[in-house]
Amino acid sequence: MSAADMVRSRVAQIALLVVLLGAYPWLIGEFYVNLASQIFIAAVFAASLNLLVGYGGLTSLGHASFLGLAAYLSGWLTLKMGFTHGAAAPLALAGATLMAGLFGLIALRATGLGFLMITLALSQVLWGTAYRWVSVTDGDNGLARLTRPAPFGINLDHATAFYYFAALVTVLAVWMMARFVASPFGASLRGTRDQPRRMSSMGHDVWLLRWITFVYSGFWGAVSGLLFVYYNKYVHPTSFALTSSAEGLLAVIAGGSGTVLGPLAGAAIVVLLKNYVSGYVERWNMLLGIVFVLIVVFMPRGLVPGLRRWRERRSGGRA
């Protein structure tokens, strides 16, 4: 395949994707349009988490902190402080990103399991505070009767309009994350994942690389939080819960942490599973747990690579 051919096929692939995404809401019913919106939200969340997990080699169990914080900030500013969305959104993002900076300073005092525990503990602090600081968060009631923004006057209350909004944000997010990963910074980050000591001896500031990544990852987590609160028009302390972070991690593991697109597939799997299953089984958490155990034990590299290998073994035989 010549270079020109490759470019042409790339453009064709992108064009096809754009057409499919664009036509989708006109082809099926509102329920599935909403489902797609949910997938977009989970996709941005999982992709942002993967910057840390897959590319930074830092597994966090507290990523929901940033989703929840952005959601609550947006809700609180618009509902209780009378801000417009145009003002609340950047403030919510800024607030959550600042918190990511602070959390990063604390969590990066450790690596590996210590890092994991600290991120978990930090998100639990936010969770507990969301329940208890009733005057601000309305505690267990959550913040309800929130509204969706109307960018350029477009009403996002219609499922299709919100779908396009979410799709655009997701495409932008994934693009920005992909560029990050392909840059010299991203290459250095991957280096610290594989051989941190060697990277240090070559002049890289490993701590700073990780901290910046933590903040960037938190920013996009916050973006998913805004999409989340706009979609649901409601936010509850469970957004900060361990289950919330765990679902993101499951999406990363299911889709494979080695690529930017893997977590997107994983997010689709998790959302579809959750929606499909909740019709038949009441206990989503138990299923989440079982899926975790099964994937980790039988397909440690993630569902997508694992399934591929399983298929190869069935058809190819002795490899």
Binding site: S183, P184, A187, S201
Partner: protein, 246 residues
Amino acid sequence: MIPALEISDLNKAFGGVSATSGVEMRVMPGARHLIIGPNGAGKTTLFNLISGDLYGDSGSIRLFGREVSRLPPHRRAHLGLARTYQIITLFGEESLEHNLVLSQLGLSPLRWRPFAPLDRFGELRQEARAVLARVNLDHLAERRLGELSYGERRRAEMAMALAQRPRLLLLDEPFAGLSREERTVLKDLIAGVPREVTIILIEHDMDIALELAERITVLHYGKVIVDGTRAEVVADPRTREVYLGD
């Protein structure tokens, strides 16, 4: 002339066991300095203290006149320090060329660019190839590092260190595990490094090491036993004692 490396009264203990004890050492720019000693003498610990992978309990380390004993490893790299490791720690899943690019990025302001694609910076790849050519590995530039032979990987490590354009190069047992021919190749490579680079070498293989060394420090139980020119150290009875004594 300012010494490339000056160590004064350096001490390091691990839970009561002294690994480095009152070590004094001075290496002038352009030197070819060898550190020898039996197993457990504290040679790699000393290297770790110089490179910053470990911090000493007391004493001072000066790199080109600058006090660095509390400086983290990456900052010492920016002062011109490069090292190789006893156990090869390269990026096995990446191409040889990419390994070298990572090495160059360590000291380049490009490493902080978060949105421009790495591929765009052709000068990094060109420089990588140039360094690989010096160690005769440029024909393997596109190969995954894990596919290279052990000898080739040792040379790749050398290339990574040279890519940093160091002023002081620490080589931790570079000949370990190499065949006779590979040793000769590597020895010639090291001998060919220009005098702008000061080299300190830890080695067990006496034949090769003595060929390269001009000054030698003998360590035992973390202490400096003998220190001087090659001739002095070889003739000194204490050297033989250290090796045959226990």
